[in-house]
C-alpha cells in the first residue's frame, strides 16, 4: 500500500499529463510606443471590420460603404460642409468631456448642458437682451454660463452629499429635456406655425459663414482646443488638475486648492458643452428645437476616451466622428438604416480600443 505522499505524487503526475495548461496574466509595467501604436491600430482596424460586417449584414452593398464613408464625405461639397460644421460642436463636446474626465468627474450630463446652453441662448434672442451688434456674443456667453451652472448642481451634490455624479448627471439630462419640451410646447411655441420649436433667430443672431459656405464654428473650436490644451498641458491650473487626479492626498498636503481647481475644471466642462449646444442652434438650426443634441453625450465620452483626454487629440477624433455622423445620415436617407447605427459603430470602436488596453497592460503566458 502506498503511503500518503507517494500517492499524491502519482496523482499529480497523472494530472500534469492530462491538463492542457492555462493562461497566466502578468501586469506589464512599461509599454513601448511602437507596441501601443500597433496594438491600438489593430484594435481600430478590428472595430472598423466588425462595423462594416454589421452594415453589410443589415443590407448595405459593400461597394456603397466605401462610397458613403470615404468618397462622399470628403469629395462631395455638401457633405464636406456638413462634416466641417459637425466637427465644431463635436470638438466642444469632446473638450467638455475631456476636461471633466481629467479631474475624475464623470460628466455624463453633456446633453443636458447642451440643452441649457440652447435654452439660455434662445432666451437672449427672444427677449432681445443687449445691443444687436453684440447679440450673438451675448447669446453664446449666456449659453456658457447656463452650461456651467447646470453642471454645478451634480458637482455640488457630489461634494456635499457624496452623490455619485454618473447617475446624477444622467438623471439631470431627463430633467433638462422635460423642461426644454415644456418650453417648446408651452411658452416658446412658435406662434406662426404652432410647431414645437422657438421662433426663428434674427439674421444677426446667426453665426456668419466663412467664405465658401463653411461654418465659422470650426475656427472657434480650434481656438477653444488650443486654449484648453494650453490650460491643461502647460499652465499651472493643468498641473494642479493632474496632481489632484494622480495623488489627491499629496496635493492636499502640499496645499493645492483642490476644491477651487476641481470646481473650475467641472464648470469649464459644463461651459464647453453649453457653448457647443448653442453653437449648433445659431450655426444651423436657427431656432430652439428638441432634436439638436441626441447622440452628442455619448459622442463626447467617446471622443475624450479615444483622444485619451488630450485636447488636440479631441480635434482629430471629432473630425472622424463628424464623418461618421454624416455617413450615418446618408445611410438613413439612401438605405433606411436608422440613425442609431452611428451609436452602434461608436460603441464598437470604444469596446475594441478599450480591449486593446488589456493587451497593452498585461502580458499573457501559457503555462502547463
Amino acid at each position: 500500500m502506498l503511503n500518503r505522499s507517494a500517492r499524491g505524487d502519482v496523482a499529480e503526475r497523472a494530472f500534469r499529463r492530462l491538463r492542457l495548461g492555462r493562461l497566466l496574466l502578468e501586469i506589464r509595467l512599461e509599454v513601448s510606443p511602437l507596441r501601443q501604436f500597433i496594438v491600438i491600430g489593430l484594435a481600430i482596424l478590428l472595430g472598423l471590420l466588425i462595423s462594416a460586417a454589421i452594415l453589410i449584414a443589415v443590407g448595405i452593398p459593400p461597394g456603397a460603404l466605401w462610397e458613403e464613408f470615404v468618397l462622399d464625405t470628403v469629395f462631395d461639397l455638401q457633405n464636406l460642409h456638413s462634416v466641417w460644421f459637425l466637427a465644431g460642436p463635436l470638438t466642444f463636446i469632446g473638450l467638455a468631456a475631456a476636461i471633466a474626465f481629467r479631474c475624475g468627474f464623470w460628466n455624463l450630463g453633456l446633453e443636458g448642458q447642451m440643452m441649457w446652453g440652447g435654452i439660455a441662448g434662445t432666451f437672449v434672442s427672444l427677449h432681445h437682451v443687449g445691443p444687436e451688434q453684440l447679440r450673438i456674443l451675448t447669446m453664446l456667453a449666456a449659453a456658457i454660463l447656463a452650461g456651467a451652472f447646470w453642471v454645478m448642481l451634480p458637482a455640488f451634490l457630489k461634494w456635499r452629499f457624496a452623490v455619485n455624479e454618473i447617475i446624477s448627471t444622467l438623471l439631470l439630462n431627463y430633467v433638462a429635456f422635460y423642461f426644454l419640451v415644456y418650453l417648446l410646447f408651452g411658452p416658446w411655441l412658435d406662434p406662426r406655425d404652432g410647431f414645437p420649436h422657438s421662433p426663428n433667430y434674427a439674421p444677426f443672431e446667426r453665426l456668419p459663414d466663412l467664405p465658401g459656405g463653411f461654418s465659422s464654428i470650426v475656427p472657434l473650436a480650434l481656438a477653444g482646443a488650443l486654449l484648453i490644451a494650453w490650460l491643461v498641458l502647460a499652465s499651472r491650473f493643468g498641473l494642479y488638475v493632474r496632481f489632484i487626479s494622480d495623488n489627491p492626498l499629496a496635493a492636499l498636503a502640499v496645499g493645492v486648492p483642490i476644491g477651487t481647481v476641481t470646481l473650475l475644471a467641472i464648470a469649464l466642462s459644463g461651459a464647453m458643452a453649453g457653448f457647443g449646444g448653442e453653437a449648433i442652434l445659431t450655426g444651423t438650426e436657427g431656432r430652439l428645437t428638441y432634436t439638436y443634441f441626441p447622440g452628442y453625450g455619448f459622442s463626447g465620452v467617446l471622443i475624450a476616451f479615444l483622444a485619451r483626454n488630450n485636447p488636440l487629440g479631441v480635434v482629430a477624433v471629432a473630425v472622424l466622428v463628424a464623418i461618421l455622423f454624416v455617413a450615418g445620415q446618408n445611410l438613413q436617407i439612401f438605405f433606411q438604416i436608422p440613425g442609431s447605427m452611428v451609436q452602434v459603430i461608436e460603441a464598437i470602436m470604444v469596446f475594441s480600443v478599450a480591449s486593446a488596453e488589456f493587451f497593452l497592460r498585461h502580458r499573457l503566458h501559457w503555462v502547463r
Partner: protein, 310 residues
C-alpha cells in the same frame, strides 16, 4: 378615496420593473462588477419580449422567459469585456448602454416591431379576494409576476445571505484576493453573477414592455435603468430595502397619471420630471444618512488580476 385606491392599485405594476432591475443589479454588483449597463439590458429585454410576442406568437409569460434568456446571452458581451479583458467598468457599462440603445433601435426597425401593440400580460384576479373593498384591487387584482415578488425577494435574500453560493459571491465582491486564495473562482462567480443579474434586469425591461406599456418604442425605458442603479445605492445592496425603494419610486410614477386624471392643473412636463428629481432626492438622503458606510461591496468596480509568476 377612489383616487387613493386607484393610485395604490397601479403602484405595484409601476414598482415591479424597478424591483426586478434592482434585484438583478444587486446580484451582479454583490460579485464586485459595477453594472451601469442596466438601461441597455432593460431595452434588450423589452425588445426581445415584444418581438417574441409579435413574431413567435408567444404568450406573455413565455415572452418574459425569452427576454431573460436573450438578455442573459447579450450580457456575456459585457461580462467578457469587464471580467476577461478587465476594461474600466464605468466605460464598459456606459458603452454597453449606448451599444444596446442603438442596437435595439436598429433591430426594432429592421424587424418591424416598432409601435405594434401586444396583448401583453393579463391581470389575474384572485377570485373573491379581489372583491374585498379597497384591499382587493390593491393586493389581489394584479398579474402573476407581482404575486411572485415577495417570494422572489425572499429567495434572493436567502441566496445572498444564507447559502454557500451567496457567501462565495459576496466574498468575490468584497475581497477577490481572499476568495481566490480560498479556492473560489473569481472569474466564474463574476461571470455567472453578471449573466444571471442581467437576465433579471432583462425581465424587468420585458415586464415594463409587456405589462405596462404594451408596445415597443425605441428608448422605451426612459432612464429607468439609471434610476434602478440609484435605487441599489439607496438600498445599500440589500434586496428587502430595494423592494421598499421600488415601491417608493413606483408610487411616485403611479401618481403622475392619477394627478392628471383627477384634473389638477399641473403642467405635465413638470410631472414627468418627478421620478428623476425624486431619485436625486433619495440619493441625497442616502448621502446624509447616519450610517457612515455605504454598504457597497468593497471591491465594486475593481477588476481582479491574480498576481502570479510561473
Amino acid at each position: 378615496m377612489d383616487l387613493l385606491t386607484n393610485w395604490l392599485a397601479t403602484t405595484p405594476s409601476f414598482a415591479e420593473p424597478y424591483m426586478l432591475a434592482a434585484l438583478g443589479l444587486i446580484i451582479s454588483e454583490r460579485a464586485g462588477v459595477l453594472s451601469l449597463g442596466a438601461e441597455g439590458f432593460m431595452l434588450v429585454g423589452a425588445l426581445s419580449g415584444v418581438a417574441a410576442c409579435l413574431s413567435l406568437g408567444c404568450s406573455a409569460p413565455v415572452a418574459l422567459l425569452v427576454a431573460m434568456v436573450v438578455t442573459g446571452f447579450a450580457s456575456t458581451l459585457f461580462a467578457i469585456f469587464t471580467i476577461l479583458l478587465r476594461i474600466n467598468q464605468v466605460i464598459a457599462g456606459l458603452t454597453t448602454v449606448f451599444f444596446f440603445q442603438g442596437l435595439t433601435d436598429l433591430f426594432g426597425t429592421l424587424g418591424d416591431w416598432n409601435k405594434h401593440t401586444v396583448l401583453g400580460l393579463d391581470r389575474w384576479a384572485l377570485g373573491p379576494l379581489a372583491r374585498i373593498p379597497w384591499l382587493g384591487p390593491i393586493l389581489f387584482d394584479q398579474d402573476f409576476v407581482i404575486y411572485l415578488t415577495i417570494p422572489v425577494v425572499a429567495a434572493a435574500h436567502f441566496l445572498l445571505w444564507h447559502s454557500l453560493t451567496g457567501l462565495r459571491l459576496r466574498a468575490v465582491g468584497d475581497s477577490p484576493e481572499t476568495a481566490d486564495a480560498a479556492g473560489v473562482s473569481v472569474s466564474l462567480y463574476r461571470f455567472s453573477a453578471v449573466v444571471v443579474g442581467a437576465a433579471i434586469v432583462g425581465l424587468a425591461g420585458a415586464y415594463l414592455a409587456l405589462a405596462d406599456v404594451k408596445v415597443w418604442t425605441p428608448g422605451l425605458t426612459h432612464g429607468r435603468g439609471w434610476i434602478a442603479v440609484a435605487l441599489v445605492i439607496f438600498a445599500r445592496w440589500r434586496p428587502w430595502r430595494a423592494l421598499f425603494g421600488a415601491l417608493l419610486f413606483g408610487g411616485i410614477e403611479a401618481l403622475i397619471p392619477q394627478i392628471a386624471a383627477a384634473g389638477f392643473d399641473v403642467p405635465q412636463y413638470f410631472m414627468l420630471m418627478m421620478p428623476y428629481i425624486a431619485t436625486l432626492a433619495v440619493m441625497v438622503r442616502a448621502g446624509i444618512g447616519k450610517e457612515s458606510v455605504s454598504g457597497a461591496p468593497m471591491a465594486l468596480g475593481r477588476p481582479f488580476v491574480r498576481e502570479e509568476r510561473r
